[in-house]
């Protein structure tokens, strides 16, 4: 089973990377772009076949290592 962990900077945490991307987009002439936030996606191949257990496992991994919950939030999707 594959799990996808999306890690994003928490609301209120400065995201200079997102800001820089936003500036670059404006410089390229893409109008109408509001706030830009940059995060990361981590794909995991899990031996677990039960979706409930797989999700719990991926969430535990995110809390322990993949995300720093002081500054980042995460979400898990399975496929």
């Amino acid at each position: 089973m594959r799990a996808k962990v999306t890690v994003m900077p928490k609301a209120g945490v400065l995201d200079p990377q997102g800001k820089a991307i936003g500036h670059a987009l404006a410089g390229l002439g893409f109008a109408g772009v509001g706030e830009v936030r940059a995060g990361k996606v981590i794909e995991l191949e899990l031996a677990e076949t039960d979706p409930v257990k797989a999700r719990a496992e991926a969430e535990a991994m995110a809390r322990r290592l993949l995300a720093n919950t002081v500054i980042e939030s995460f979400s898990v999707t399975l496929d």
Binding site: V13, L14, P16, Q17, A20, R64, L65, L66, N68, V70, I71
Partner: protein, 232 residues
């Protein structure tokens, strides 16, 4: 005082740290490896030096914080041991939960390699006992992710309990936005644990310990440690 310096794959400031400690204590620190599961008997101080452990993968210090020796360092700190984390070492300490908060990308998005001035906020610690309160000393920063962040409640607690050890300031000691090059919350350059024995800071005081190479502004930190932990 017996110090141990921990090396991780990608650590690159361990030798400067060893020279600084040796200069202050007259004793060679032990060089420890990240896969070690215990600290040498008689260790008084553990130092996590600067560098780019594990290539800064995932987040700076995140991988190192999970390495085998960190469990021993947790226990050591729990028993009241002194732990100093500089630069990447500070990042490890926050990732390992030994200090609160996190270190974000510099607000400018640039790697900053330059002098800075640090104002000493309290002097009743092993690290700062050789300084005067409010004293400013010159140091060096060399980091891409040194922008200290914590939520407002944590910052207020740190301030309230006097756990901010060092702040970025001007040469004359004013805490200004211009002096805060990496964008740290409240100009915080270094913080202490509640028992004052764990210190994390982004700048490199070990750079300034030799009169022939950039002066000795950082030496009091190491001499203070040597003095405070001599009896230990």
């Amino acid at each position: 005082m017996q110090a141990g310096i921990v090396m991780f794959p990608g650590t690159n400031r361990e030798r400067d740290m060893a020279l600084a400690l040796q200069r202050a204590t007259g004793r060679k620190p032990a060089m420890l490896w990240h896969r070690d599961t215990e600290l040498p008997a008689g260790t008084d101080l553990v130092v996590l030096p600067g560098g780019f452990s594990y290539g800064d993968y995932l987040r700076c210090g995140a991988m190192a914080a999970q390495s085998p020796i960190m469990r021993a360092i947790h226990d050591f700190a729990g028993r009241g041991g002194h732990v100093l984390g500089v630069c990447n070492g500070f990042q490890m300490l926050v990732e390992a939960g030994l200090l609160p908060g996190a270190l974000l990308r510099n607000a400018s998005l640039r790697f900053l390699s330059m002098d800075c001035h640090l104002r000493v906020e309290r002097t009743d610690t092993a690290y700062t006992c050789r300084f005067q309160r409010g004293q400013v000393f010159r140091s060096t920063m060399a980091h891409g992710d040194g922008n200290y962040f914590a939520d407002a409640a944590t910052l207020d607690r740190l301030e309230g309990e006097g756990l901010v050890a060092l702040r970025y300031a001007t040469a004359s000691g004013e805490v200004t936005e211009a002096a805060n090059r990496n964008g740290s919350a409240r100009n915080i350059a270094g913080i202490l644990s509640p028992n004052l024995r764990v210190l994390g800071l982004m700048p490199h005081p070990e750079n300034q310990v030799d009169p022939l190479i950039d002066g000795t502004d950082g030496l009091p930190l190491f001499e203070g440690l040597a003095e405070a932990l001599a009896a230990a």
